[in-house]
């Protein structure tokens, strides 16, 4: 267990390092003159000044060292536009994003899981789930979000349309985020349930006279839980993307909105910082999910080695 934790942490650190190298390269090499990118209409003297303060003339490896040292201290650079440390800007927005993401995961697991169980147990439900899956798989998140906003916000007038953070304002974004993930969970749980139903342990349970309801709760559902948890981990990269889009649609003041707004003003350090934080979040959550799964499903411990 400890060994596995160390291995996973090391792999995770390597991945984050890789992402950091990529963001560094993108930020400092490709765009050419960084000083010019910071202040497009500045005079030559100002440009020299910027170059000097940011050490833009130092050799690349020195700049990379500085960048990495900064990252280890939690320093993600300074916003070109807002003149504030990127880490401060991100810190202000992080709670909102975490709240929205948590609510979204809850919706997709609960709705997707329920549909999946129903479809796995009853063959005829499976067709319904297929149709629902196809619909939600074919609607981009932002279209679904705007659609819900139009119906519940403007037409029925029961949800706020002005954005901002409140419990009422959380419902539609969380729903949008969750419904987009429902097909994946529904299909996964359905297949797991169907597989369990054809397994020898269910046959044994029937043979020893266990009531159907107990078989389903004790054997079938327990076996479907672990893959669903794996899915939460695997899905994170896509899920975070959904968060960015949903925040933009609903004006939810989180990291995604910050990133999109910063793209508009070409505020590169902020976009890079949010991306780095997002990637780190995905890696960390994957490790957490991995260990949760080991706790829930002891079989996965055997697969270490």
């Amino acid at each position: 267990m400890a060994r596995r934790l160390i291995v996973r942490l090391f792999q995770g650190a390597l991945t984050i390092f890789g992402v950091a190298v990529l963001t560094f390269l993108l930020e400092f090499i490709i765009p050419g003159n960084t000083a010019h990118a910071i202040a497009p209409r500045a005079t030559a003297a100002t440009l020299r000044e910027i170059t000097k303060t940011l050490h833009l003339n130092a050799p690349l490896w020195v700049q990379f060292g500085d960048y990495m040292k900064g990252l280890l201290h939690g320093n993600l650079g300074e916003s070109y536009v807002q003149r504030e440390p990127v880490s401060t800007l991100i810190g202000q927005r992080l709670p909102a994003t975490a709240l929205l993401a948590g609510a979204g995961v809850l919706v997709e697991v609960v709705v997707g899981g329920t549909l999946g169980i129903a479809a796995g147990l009853k063959r005829w439900m499976s067709r319904g789930v297929n149709a629902i899956s196809l619909t939600f798989l074919s609607i981009p998140t932002f279209v679904l979000g705007l659609f819900l906003l139009l119906i519940f916000g403007f037409d029925l007038n029961i949800a706020p349309v002005t954005g901002g953070m409140s419990f009422g304002a959380l419902i539609l974004p969380a729903l949008t985020l969750g419904l987009g993930g429902v097909p994946w969970y529904a299909q996964l749980v359905r297949d797991q349930v169907a597989e369990s139903l054809s397994s020898s342990y269910v046959r044994t349970a029937i043979a020893k006279g266990l009531p159907d309801r107990w078989i389903i709760v004790r054997h079938v559902l327990r076996n479907a839980f672990s893959p669903a948890l794996t899915m939460v981990g695997m899905d994170l990269g896509i899920f975070i993307s959904g968060v960015v889009v949903v925040e933009t649609v609903f004006g939810w003041p989180g990291l995604g909105q910050l990133a999109v707004q910063s793209l508009d003003s070409l505020d590169r350090p902020v976009v890079m910082g949010v991306a780095l934080v997002g990637a780190t979040g995905v890696v960390v959550m994957n490790i957490v999910v991995d260990f949760l799964r080991m706790y829930v499903d002891p079989r996965t411990k055997l697969a270490t080695a």
């Binding site: 390597l14 991945t15 798989l137 932002f142 705007l146 029937i206 960015v244 990133a259 976009v271 890079m272």
Partner: protein, 290 residues
């Protein structure tokens, strides 16, 4: 046990999902090809294309079957040109992303060793990236336009097929025909080309409609966020973004491009589903109630 009637080999029925999906795709392509027939997508008719109060015209207005947008441009024409954008992106980025992924997967799976370590590490990074955030980062340094979208999609979408191909190659490389090819002195490249690659084709063919659907999705999302195809070039994504401000007055600005996206993506998914059926799967039985 199985109630399914056996069919003689070689006479497989074409699955209905494939027929439906394929038909829809052909129709969308025809719509895209016929785009010039529906007028100029950039013509801002500020006198007759807007209502008296300066609002977009709804569907079935005089001269505009599908209405106009906030600048008085014909929605029909813009939808058709948007279809061109979507299909072009789907087609090109499908080839580039699956192509890059396949090459990396083949190299990692066949040569193993150092190449495998490096490529698979990069694949892990690629799969860990939050797609939209990574796309925003790339969008800050690339000039806007359709090329940017294709570069972004390729840079982000190669990792998944690479993983798929890698797994498949690992499975195949122990098989007799690969061993025989290597043993008879064929070069690695020729073994890959004539023995491994053909066996990957069914998988790649099944995967490509799903990849195309994701690409269309992603293009629309990027264009909506302002990181993809920028106005005035029509894209279903930036049309929705443009119309967002007038949404409550002119909901057709959302419904029309939204419906096009839904139908086109669904068609690709149906085709993918149909191709999967052609690759017969195990049909499982339930012990419950047996």
């Amino acid at each position: 046990m199985s109630k399914k009637r056996e069919r003689p080999a070689g006479r497989r029925r074409i699955p209905p999902t494939l027929v439906v999906g394929g038909t829809i795709l052909v129709l969308v392509m025809a719509f895209a090809l016929a785009a010039p027939l529906f007028g100029n997508p950039l013509h801002e008719n500020l006198t007759n294309g807007l209502s008296v109060t300066g609002m977009p015209l709804g569907p079935f207005s005089k001269g505009y079957v599908l209405g106009t947008d906030t600048l008085g441009r014909s929605m029909l024409s813009r939808l058709a040109y948007g279809a061109r954008t979507s299909l072009f992106v789907a087609f090109v980025s499908n080839i580039t992303s699956i192509g890059v992924g396949t090459i990396f997967g083949l190299v990692a799976g066949f040569y193993r060793g150092f190449a495998e370590t490096v490529v698979m590490r990069f694949t892990d990074i690629g799969l860990a990236l939050p797609y939209v955030l990574a796309a925003l980062v790339l969008a800050t340094i690339l000039p806007s336009g359709i090329t940017r979208v294709i570069i972004i999609i390729t840079a982000l979408f190669w990792a998944y097929p690479a993983r798929l191909v890698y797994g498949e190659v690992l499975r195949l490389r122990g098989r007799g025909f690969v061993e025989a090819s290597v043993a008879s002195g064929a070069s690695g490249r020729s073994t890959i080309r004539s023995h491994l690659f053909p066996h990957l084709m069914p998988m790649l063919v099944t995967y490509s409609p799903l990849n195309a659907a994701s690409a269309i999705f992603f293009e629309a999302t990027l264009s909506y966020l302002g990181a993809g195809v920028n106005p005035p070039t029509a894209s279903w994504g930036n049309m929705i973004s443009d119309g967002q401000s007038a949404l409550s007055i002119a909901p057709h600005l959302l419904y029309e491009p939204g419906l096009m996206l839904l139908v086109t993506t669904a068609a690709f998914l149906l085709v993918g589903e149909g191709l999967k059926v052609l690759n017969p799967d195990l049909t499982r039985l339930s012990w419950l109630g047996a």
